[in-house]
Symmetry: C2
């Protein structure tokens, strides 16, 4: 279970590293990136996991989100996993669409053929990744929070709601809030989980909050000019569920911003400072 260091680049007051490892859960190799602030050399630092959206690898947010400046200031490591299993033997959508298969793991454990043999992203993120991160020096894996963008925002919210003992806080940029009620979610859940919609509810942040999920501090930022807002993201459903349940949601709608990394970069600092309150508590 060795980690192979693929690259290391000095960045602000820290190191941006990229690792390859063999994943038992995903039945193959996986690549992830870690930003390690210099603070970690004297005292282990807490960890923020960043889950990316459809089509991304670990690299998109590393190069475009601009998390390193404030992460180095706050003494927080940021871990960037891939969005799906990878490899020649991993099933992909025969239609070649961007929203199913490679790059579109939805952070759930697939139960259906041909997906189930590799697409086990929930177990990978929650259980196996912390073990792999044990091989990276300077991380305090008893203090972990989680965030993400779009499909990764859905992943961050559902994993935090299902595993509140694992994550101290959760935040999302433009998340898919109610995947049981949008085209992206319907397509992915039908393929990965099958037709039983009761099972789908276990992977839907809005449904989990409606069902009384334990409370985790939650920050959501959404662009008002996001082309996916009404059809795919549905933050109003999440807000209504939080209101009804008394769930601690901070929701902010930002005029003019769209679904891109320009939006993420504009607000990543505030997400890091939000998580720092809980990671350094």
């Amino acid at each position: 279970m060795g980690l192979e260091l693929l690259s290391s680049n000095r960045c602000f007051a820290g190191e941006q590293k990229r690792y390859q490892a063999t994943s038992e859960t995903l039945s193959g190799n996986t690549v992830f990136s870690v930003f390690i602030p210099d603070f970690a050399s004297s005292n282990p630092v807490p960890v923020l996991i960043y889950l990316s959206g459809l089509t991304c690898t670990d690299e998109n947010a590393v190069t475009k989100a601009g998390a390193q400046r404030v992460a180095s200031e706050l003494g927080i490591a940021v871990v960037f996993p891939d969005t799906s299993p990878r490899g020649d033997d991993v099933a992909d959508d025969p239609d070649g669409s961007y929203d199913l298969g490679l790059g579109a793991g939805f952070y759930i454990n697939a139960t259906q053929s041909p997906w189930a043999s590799h697409y086990q992203m929930e177990t990978f993120i929650v259980e196996e990744l912390p073990g792999l991160l044990g091989g990276v020096e300077g991380l305090d894996l008893s203090r972990v929070s989680i965030c993400g963008h779009s499909m990764g925002g859905h992943g961050a919210m559902t994993l935090a709601l299902k595993h509140p003992e694992t994550y101290r806080s959760v935040s999302a940029f433009s998340p898919i809030c109610n995947p049981t009620d949008c085209p992206w979610g319907h397509k992915a859940f039908t393929a990965y989980l099958g037709e039983d919609q009761a099972e789908w509810q276990q992977h839907d942040a809005t449904a989990l909050i409606r069902s009384g999920a334990a409370q985790v501090p939650l920050l959501v930022d959404q662009g008002a000019a996001d082309a996916f807002l009404d059809d795919q993201l549905k933050p109003d459903a999440l807000k209504a569920a939080c209101d009804a349940a008394g769930f601690p949601l901070t929701y902010r709608l930002h005029e003019g911003f769209d679904h891109s990394y320009f939006f993420i970069a504009s607000f990543i600092e505030e997400h890091l400072r939000f998580h720092a309150k809980f990671l350094h508590a």
Copy 2:
């Protein structure tokens, strides 16, 4: 001479825009990006031109350098041109190398066949681009500075030294300081300018300073772990020329940093604040 707006994304307190225009100088279409801070809607803002390095288009620095946060705070527009002419009829290196032809214009006017008909990047940047930017609202084109990375650092320094009336200040990340004495420069100058090395001296920052170029405030940042430092970049030659000429160079060598955008992102804020002193003077 119309500008076509290709895209616009809200980013921090401003808009990241991308334009296409027909360039007479380059004999074809060219694409460039402009970050326009919100300040520009009440008062025209000064302009920093950012010249990218080998293989880049206008987009690399837009997505990876992280200039927008501080540019919006300081009220400075940042313009990102392409690194060469583009188009099916534009000559490229028949060997397909990354350091000649498309993506490698070196910010000079080629005199040799087959390059001369399109590769006129010096005239494009210094003369035609400001005219095209006249079609973008909110820019004060009487206040312009210039910066760049690697090949673009060479471009920024040589254009500022040759046109000191045009640029108030100049800065560079990891610039090619002495292209008449390195493999990248030899290859490009031989192809674009021919064998006459006297002509090459007009496009070499170190040679221009040795020859008594007019003074422009100059900031250079260099990574000490840059793989190209000794063979291609040669900042020691630049420093020696500046020392001998009493030229106002601020040179900083940064332990551990390499040639990547992680280096640029780590120091772009300080470059923007350096230029702000002159652009807002």
